[in-house]
C-alpha cells in the first residue's frame, strides 16, 4: 500500500479543483483525517471507503464532504461545522459527539448513531439500530426509517425524530430531549411518557422534517418526553439522603 503524503494532497489543493477526491484505496486513514482537519472549507469526495473506521472525524470547518460507499465505526465523529454525506450505510457510532454541522446517511446506521451529540443535525435516510441518540446532549436526529431498542437512553436535550417505528424501551431514564415518533413505539423506557403536542412542538418538528428532506406531516407524530420523576431531587425525600 502506498501512502499519499499530506503535502501531496495539499499541492493538489492549490490547483483549486472542486471537489477534490481522495481515494482510500491508496490513502492512509490518518492522512485523510489530518488533511481534512487542516481545511477551512471546500468540497471533498472520499472514494472506496470499504467499511473503514473513523472516516472524516474531528472536522472543524464548513467543509462539504461526500463519502461514496459504506463506512465502519465512528464515521464523522466529533464533527464541527462540516457537512458530511455518506452515500451508503454506516457502522456503529456515526456522528458520535457531534458539535455542529450535519451528517447525512443515505443507507442504514448501526448502533448508537449520534450518541452524546451536542449539536448539529444527523439524518439517517434508512433505519438506525439500537441505542440511537443515546445520551444526546443537544443534537437533532431525524431517522426516515425505524430505530432499535434503548434509543434516546438518558437523552439530555435535542430532538429525535423517527418517521418509522421505535423499538423497546424508548427514552429510558430520559432528561429533557424531545422524541417525536410517527409509527409505533414497541415500549417506553422508565420515566418516558407520551406528552401533548403543542403548537411550538409542531413548529420544531416541521422545521426538522424540512431540513432533513423528509416528506411527512408533523400532525401524524406523537411526542414523548420525560415524566421527570426519576431524575429530579424531590424535597419530600430529603430525609433519605
Amino acid at each position: 500500500m502506498t501512502t499519499m503524503a499530506n503535502t501531496q494532497i495539499r499541492e493538489d489543493l492549490d490547483i483549486g479543483v472542486q471537489p477534490r477526491t481522495i481515494d482510500m484505496a491508496w490513502t492512509e486513514l490518518r492522512d485523510l483525517n489530518s488533511t481534512l482537519q487542516a481545511q477551512t472549507g471546500g468540497e471533498w469526495v472520499i472514494e472506496n471507503p470499504r467499511g473503514a473506521h473513523a472516516l472524516a472525524v474531528g472536522l472543524q470547518a464548513p467543509l462539504e464532504v461526500t463519502i461514496k460507499g459504506s463506512t465502519g465505526y465512528y464515521c464523522a465523529g466529533m464533527n464541527k461545522e462540516a457537512r458530511v454525506h455518506v452515500t451508503g450505510s454506516v457502522g456503529p457510532g456515526v456522528a458520535e459527539n457531534m458539535i455542529s454541522g450535519s451528517v447525512t446517511v443515505e443507507g442504514d446506521a448501526s448502533q448508537y448513531a449520534g450518541a452524546t451529540g451536542h449539536g448539529g443535525l444527523l439524518v439517517i435516510k434508512g433505519n438506525a439500530s439500537s441505542r440511537c441518540g443515546i445520551s444526546m446532549k443537544g443534537i437533532d436526529i431525524v431517522v426516515h426509517g425505524n430505530i432499535g431498542h434503548m434509543s434516546a437512553f438518558m437523552a439530555q436535550s435535542g430532538n429525535l425524530v423517527v418517521l418509522g417505528d421505535a423499538g423497546d424501551a424508548l427514552g429510558d431514564s430520559l432528561y429533557e430531549a424531545r422524541l417525536f415518533v410517527r409509527g409505533k413505539v414497541k415500549s417506553l423506557g422508565a420515566d418516558c411518557i407520551e406528552k401533548e403536542m403543542r403548537p411550538e412542538h409542531l413548529e420544531i418538528l416541521a422545521d426538522l422534517l424540512k431540513r432533513a428532506g423528509a416528506d411527512a406531516d408533523p400532525s401524524e407524530f406523537r411526542r414523548y418526553g420525560s415524566a421527570r420523576k426519576l431524575y429530579n431531587f424531590h424535597v419530600d425525600h430529603a430525609g433519605d439522603y
Binding site: 473503514a52 460507499g69 459504506s70 457502522g91 448501526s110 439500537s130
Partner: protein, 295 residues
C-alpha cells in the same frame, strides 16, 4: 471482541471461489481477533465419512496413520495432511471406532461429517489461512472466526468454529454466563463438551436440539430462551446457514444478500471484496431474531 464471517452460496457459480472470498473476509477481521482463527468449509461430499483431526506434532502423529486405520477398519482409508490438520476419508459407520482410536492416541478431532472440514489454529488470521491453503478451497458455504479470547485459554481447541455433531459448526462473538449449568444439563443428554469453553456449550446445545428433531431455526430460537449472556452466533449445517443475536445485541453484525449469496460479517469491512456488493441488500440483523437459509 472477536470477528465472525460467513458466506452461504445460493448458486453454484461462486463455488470454486468460496475459500478465496472467505479468506479475504477472515483477514479483514484481524483487528477484532488476532489470537487465533478458524474456518469451517462445506466442500464436496465424501464417499463415506470426512473427519478433520489435529495434532501439535503432525509429522510423528500422521506418519503411518493411514496404514494403522486401514488395519483397524479393514477397509480403504484416505489421509490428506494439511499442516497440523489431516482430513480423513473413512468408511461409513466407522466413526465410533475411529473416535475411540483418536482418543487413545491423544489426537484431537476438529469435526466430522460428509462435507465439512474444519481448520483452526493459534495465530494471525492471514497466517492460519495460508497454512491451511483456505484460498484454494471450493465449496457451498463456510464460516470463519477470528478470536480475541475472554473465557478460556488461547489454544487450538479454544479457537472457533466448534463442531459437536456431524457437519455442524458454530462460531460466537460474546460470552455466555450460564454455560456451566447448561453444560451439566447437556451432559445428562449425552452431549459432552470437550473443553471448558463457553462457546462449545452453545454448539452442543444446538446439536442436542437438532438431534431431538428441531430444525435449524427452532434450535437457534432455543438459544434465546436457554442461553444467557452476550452472543452473536453463526451456525452451519450440511445444507444450512443460520444467524441469531441476543436481545441486547451489542455485538456487531451486518448481513448482505444478493441473488448469488448470503454473507455475514461482524463489520461491513468483511464484505468489501465480495462480488456485486455494491448492489447487495445490506442490513443489520435484528436482536433476538433468527435468520436461516437452507438449500
Amino acid at each position: 471482541m472477536c470477528g465472525i464471517v460467513g458466506l452461504f452460496l445460493k448458486k453454484d457459480d461462486l463455488r470454486p471461489q468460496l475459500g478465496d472470498l472467505l479468506t479475504d473476509m477472515l483477514i479483514s477481521m484481524t483487528d477484532r481477533g488476532p489470537d487465533s482463527a478458524g474456518i469451517a468449509i462445506y466442500g464436496d461430499d465424501a464417499q463415506g465419512l470426512k473427519m478433520t483431526i489435529q495434532s501439535d506434532t503432525p509429522d510423528e502423529t500422521f506418519a503411518g496413520l493411514e496404514d494403522s486405520l486401514k488395519a483397524l477398519l479393514g477397509a480403504p482409508v484416505q489421509v490428506r495432511v494439511v499442516d497440523t490438520h489431516a482430513v480423513l476419508t473413512l468408511p461409513e459407520g466407522s466413526e465410533p471406532e475411529v473416535r475411540a482410536y483418536m482418543a487413545e492416541k491423544g489426537i484431537r478431532i476438529m469435526g466430522a461429517g460428509q462435507s465439512m472440514e474444519i481448520f483452526k489454529e493459534v495465530g494471525l488470521p492471514k497466517d492460519v489461512a495460508a497454512r491451511f491453503g483456505i484460498r484454494q478451497m471450493g465449496g457451498s458455504h463456510g464460516i470463519g472466526h477470528t478470536r480475541m479470547a475472554t473465557e478460556s485459554a488461547v489454544t487450538t481447541l479454544g479457537a472457533h468454529p466448534f463442531s459437536t455433531d456431524g457437519d455442524q459448526c458454530l462460531v460466537h462473538n460474546g460470552s455466555l454466563s450460564n454455560h456451566n449449568r447448561v453444560r451439566r444439563e447437556l451432559a445428562r443428554k449425552g452431549f459432552v463438551p470437550q473443553t471448558q469453553n463457553d462457546t462449545e456449550v452453545a454448539a452442543c446445545y444446538i446439536s442436542s436440539r437438532l438431534a431431538e428433531g428441531a430444525n435449524l431455526g427452532e434450535a437457534l430460537e432455543g438459544t434465546l430462551d436457554d442461553l444467557d449472556g452476550f452472543f452473536t452466533f453463526v451456525v452451519g449445517t450440511r445444507n444450512g446457514f443460520g444467524v441469531v443475536r441476543d436481545p441486547i445485541a451489542c455485538k456487531p453484525a451486518v448481513m448482505a444478500e444478493t441473488d448469488s449469496y448470503v454473507a455475514f460479517g461482524s463489520e461491513y469491512r468483511a464484505f468489501a471484496n465480495l462480488p456485486g456488493i455494491e448492489d447487495a441488500r445490506i442490513w443489520e440483523p435484528e436482536p433476538a431474531t433468527v435468520y436461516f437459509w437452507e438449500r
